[in-house]
C-alpha cells in the first residue's frame, strides 16, 4: 500500500453501572482496596470510549475507514453490549473486576475485530478526571485483582 498514513479517532459514549469487588477478599479488605467503589448496590458512570485506527488513506474515498462502517460496528459490539448495563453482570466481567483498566482491555479486544483498519489505541474515560489508555502491548487478559 502507498499513500499517506493517517490516524482516525472516534469517540463513543455509554452509561453503565458497576461495583468493584473481589469475592476472594474479605468484606473488610474489599472496602479497604476499593473504598466507595465497593458499595454493595453499585454506582455508575458516563463512559467515553475513544478508539484510534491507523491506515493508508484510500484515494477514492479519502478515508482510513468508512465512518458508517465503524459506527455500525461500535453500535452493535460496544453500545448495545454496554450501554445502560450493569458491568458486573456481563460475561466478560464474570471473573474480572469491572475496573476501567479491565474495561479498556475488553474494548481493545472488541475493536481488534474491526476488519477495515488497524487498531492503535483505546482510551476510556470513566469520569472527567480518570482516563485509561491501552496500546495493545500485551495480550489483553482481564485481571481479577
Amino acid at each position: 500500500m502507498s499513500g499517506p498514513l493517517a490516524y482516525l479517532s472516534r469517540k463513543y459514549h455509554f452509561a453503565a453501572s458497576h461495583r468493584l469487588h473481589v469475592d476472594a477478599l474479605s468484606p473488610e479488605r474489599n472496602r479497604e482496596v476499593f473504598g466507595k467503589c465497593n458499595n454493595p448496590f453499585g454506582h455508575g458512570h458516563n463512559y467515553i470510549v475513544q478508539v484510534t485506527f491507523a491506515g493508508r488513506v484510500d484515494a477514492s474515498t479519502g478515508m482510513v475507514t468508512n465512518l458508517a462502517d465503524l459506527d455500525d460496528f461500535a453500535e452493535t459490539r460496544l453500545i448495545h453490549a454496554f450501554d445502560h448495563r450493569n458491568l458486573n453482570t456481563l460475561a466478560c466481567f464474570r471473573d474480572a473486576v469491572p475496573s476501567t483498566e479491565n474495561l479498556c482491555l475488553e474494548v481493545w479486544r472488541i475493536f481488534l475485530e474491526y476488519p477495515h483498519a488497524t487498531l492503535k489505541c483505546v482510551r476510556v474515560e470513566e469520569t472527567n478526571n480518570n482516563a485509561f489508555e491501552y496500546f495493545g502491548e500485551a495480550p489483553p487478559t482481564l485481571h481479577a485483582a
Partner: protein, 153 residues
C-alpha cells in the same frame, strides 16, 4: 482535546526537547463525491455526506511542533509568529469557505477529516521557524478527529 500529543507509533526521537501545540478554529462547508462513480454508488459509500448542496462543521485544528528551547527567549517558537503562519497558510484559506469549491487541493481529493489533516501538514511543513512539524490533528466534531504525522506526505 485531552489525549496526549505523543503517539505510540511515533516515539519522541532522541533529540527531542519539547512539544508545543497551538490550536485554531475554522468553519467550512464540504461534501463527499467521487465523479468516477454513479450517483447510487456515491450515496451508498458516502451516505448523507454525499449531499452535493454541502454541509458544514466547526473544525478545530491542533498543530504540534517539536524543537529545542531557545536559551534567551525560553521559547521553542514565537507563538505569535506560529499563530500568524497558521492563520495565513490555513485559516484564511479554509475558514468560511466551501472546501470542495474554493480550496485547490480538494479539487483532487475528498475533503475528509483525514485529507484535511494531510493538506494542512503539507501547507505548514517547513514553514515554522526553529521547529519541526510533529503532528497535525483536525477535529471535524468533538467526537471525530484525524492525526497526521507526515508519513507518506
Amino acid at each position: 482535546m485531552s489525549a496526549p500529543a505523543q503517539c505510540p507509533a511515533h516515539p519522541i526521537p532522541d533529540d527531542f526537547m519539547i512539544l508545543l501545540t497551538r490550536k485554531a478554529d475554522f468553519s467550512s462547508a464540504h461534501f463527499y463525491w467521487n465523479d468516477a462513480w454513479s450517483d447510487a454508488e456515491n450515496e451508498r459509500v458516502f451516505g448523507k455526506c454525499s449531499n452535493r448542496q454541502g454541509h458544514g462543521h466547526n473544525y478545530t485544528l491542533e498543530v504540534t511542533v517539536k524543537g529545542s528551547i531557545d536559551p534567551t527567549s525560553g521559547f521553542v517558537v514565537d507563538l505569535k509568529e506560529m499563530k500568524e503562519i497558521m492563520e495565513r497558510e490555513v485559516v484564511s484559506v479554509y475558514d468560511h469557505r466551501h472546501l470542495n469549491h474554493e480550496v485547490p487541493e480538494f479539487q483532487q481529493m475528498q475533503p475528509t477529516t483525514e485529507n484535511v489533516a494531510i493538506s494542512i501538514w503539507r501547507r505548514l511543513a517547513g514553514k515554522i521557524p526553529n521547529a519541526e512539524l510533529y503532528r497535525v490533528r483536525v477535529y471535524e466534531m468533538p467526537d471525530l478527529f484525524a492525526d497526521f504525522f507526515g508519513e507518506g506526505a
